[in-house]
């Protein structure tokens, strides 16, 4: 099955313009025969929203931009990033998996980077869950950007039986590379985790980052797909728009799990016991 990764540069705070961009790329993916298209983190709004977070928030359902995306999801599954206005009155940095005219799953970003150049917890409430769900990509788990860099997120999706892990990202590049690697130093960090997680969970890792500039930050691009044996299956350009296609075949997951029984031999009950002990004794 063909999956498309749209490495785009959304317009900051302009949901309707971004919806048009999404629709154009969905049409392109359909023409290429893709069955799934993944967009980056906050693809419908842009990243550095600050006070625009509240103003661009959407209530997921058959309304607003979701109406058009849900209609298109009858022809191709769509993974999209947006600001969720939750019933609770809170706002989340969220991702939705749409397929067959329905919302299959919404993930709310758990780890909100708030240090240095990042200020997400100032504007968003954190999510508190990593759930897997069935999709055209098999048992699937979603993460948003920084979620991916925490070992616990990948482990929790593994215990949920994930066969494909989809990561929506808006990672700004930073740090020089002395060697001519044609990328920012931080791109390596994402690739390291992609390689590691795909191999040790025997799952596909689909990482869709964005491109373009916001307030001087350059988003690093470099979207990728790692296969369940930890090998790079496809790779987009660094720090520019791109459109990546990759083949995903569930049989590769099964083959990898026969070769390397990491998932079979895992012991979540041990993790639970040790975590409970750490939690009980935890003091800040």
């Amino acid at each position: 099955m063909l999956i498309a990764l749209a490495q785009i540069s959304p317009v900051l705070g302009e949901v309707n313009k971004n919806l048009r961009l999404h629709v154009a790329l969905i049409e392109k993916a359909l023409k290429k025969g893709a069955k799934v298209i993944v967009f980056p983190e906050l693809s419908l709004t842009g990243y550095k929203l600050r006070d625009l977070a509240v103003e661009t928030a959407l209530v997921p359902g058959n309304n607003g931009p979701f109406r058009e995306l849900l209609r298109l999801s009858r022809r191709i599954a769509i993974v999209v990033g947006f600001v969720e206005a939750a019933d609770s009155g809170l706002f989340h940095n969220a991702a939705a998996f749409l397929a067959g005219g329905r919302i299959l799953h919404i993930h709310r970003k758990v780890f909100l980077p708030t240090f240095g150049m990042f200020e997400e917890a100032r504007f968003f409430a954190p999510g508190r869950d990593f759930k897997t769900f069935d999709s055209p990509l098999g048992r699937t788990g979603l993460m948003i950007c920084r979620d991916f860099l925490h070992l616990s997120s990948g482990y929790l999706l593994q215990t949920g039986g994930a066969e494909t892990i989809v990561v929506l990202s808006a990672a700004p590049g930073r740090g020089g590379t002395e060697k001519a690697s044609a990328s920012f130093a931080t791109s390596r960090m994402w690739e390291m985790m992609g390689e590691t997680l795909s191999f040790f969970t025997s799952a596909f890792v689909v990482y869709c980052n964005r491109s373009g500039f916001e307030d001087g930050m350059a988003f690093a691009g470099g979207s990728f797909v790692y296969n369940p044996l930890g090998r790079l299956a496809a790779k987009a350009a660094y720090a520019k728009n791109d459109f990546l296609l990759a083949g995903i075949d569930r049989r590769e997951v099964l083959r990898a799990r026969r070769l390397w029984p990491w998932t079979r031999d895992d012991k979540p009950e041990v993790a639970l016991r040790v975590l409970q002990r750490a939690f009980d004794r935890h003091e800040d």
């Binding site: 600050r50 020089g176 001519a180 690697s181 307030d215 001087g216």
Partner: protein, 270 residues
């Protein structure tokens, strides 16, 4: 501190093209001094937007900088950008006839702001944005005139130390004359940055890189082999010039105040 020049060039050209484009512009204007920073900024802008879309304004005070004017013209010719020379002496002299001073810094700052005023006028005439030329070294130690040479619409060089700008200049094949020229703010004839700062850019950048990029403490930088007096002076300069890197504070009265809790990105709607 070595940079991947080909990649940095690509990112900075995209930055210039996209930031300008998002704001609805396709032309850039910048001051050309005949020095390294403005030559690099002009070269990147010419690559990003096409040489015909760049105007280099050469703004000498009288005839005391004839060699620099020639170097600036040479850069414009090589880059195939448009250029124009305007002598700022009549405007500056008219002002100082009214309020005379011999203080070199006062006179130099006035000249820097006269150039800024001309750049903004031309940015409107040309429907162009001003592309900045201040590097990270001078921004950090405050070696620039606020609302003068620091003023711009976007700055491609502000995160590159002077020594990194020099690497990029070599990569961009700028004339060796520009590369080997003694850096000067041009506030008065014979002035050199390194003479005035009291440190070579090489040493200054290595200290700044440790303090700023690597977040090392003063003590750590000193124990890495740099003179304590130099390190302390640099730290003091960074602190003293913070006002040049921020918008002025607004007295908070209401429940929502610009700069405090009215928080929108620069690229709002772009």
């Amino acid at each position: 501190m070595k940079i991947d020049c080909a990649f940095v060039e690509r990112v900075l050209c995209a930055f210039i093209r996209e930031e300008l484009g998002k704001a609805g512009f396709r032309r850039g204007v910048l001051g050309l001094s005949g020095g390294l920073d403005s030559a690099v900024s002009a070269a990147l802008s010419a690559k990003a937007l096409g040489p015909k879309n760049i105007l280099g304004l050469i703004l000498p005070y009288g005839r005391s900088y004839a060699a620099d004017v020639e170097d600036a013209r040479d850069v414009a010719r090589r880059l195939k950008i448009r250029s124009r020379v305007l002598d700022i002496a009549p405007m500056v002299d008219a002002y100082f006839r009214a309020v005379p001073t011999k203080a070199r810094t006062l006179r130099g700052n006035k000249m820097a702001r006269e150039r800024m005023s001309i750049l903004y006028d031309f940015s409107a005439r040309e429907k162009a944005l001003i592309i900045g030329t201040s590097n990270k070294t001078e921004l950090l130690i405050g070696y620039g005139t606020i609302h003068g040479d620091m003023a711009c619409a976007l700055n491609p060089l502000g995160d590159l130390y002077k020594t990194q700008v020099r690497q990029l200049a070599a990569h961009l094949r700028l004339p060796s004359k520009i590369l080997s020229k003694k850096p000067t703010a041009g506030l008065w004839p014979g002035q050199t940055d390194e003479g005035e700062i009291g440190l070579s850019y090489d040493e200054l950048d290595r200290i700044l890189y440790r303090l700023v990029d690597l977040r090392h403490s003063k003590a750590e930088v000193v124990s890495a082999g740099f003179a304590r007096a130099k390190v302390e002076r640099i730290v003091a300069q960074i602190r003293k010039s913070q006002f040049k890197r921020c918008l002025p504070p607004i007295a908070k009265i209401s429940s929502r105040t610009i700069g405090h809790d009215f928080l929108y990105p620069y690229d709002w709607g772009r």
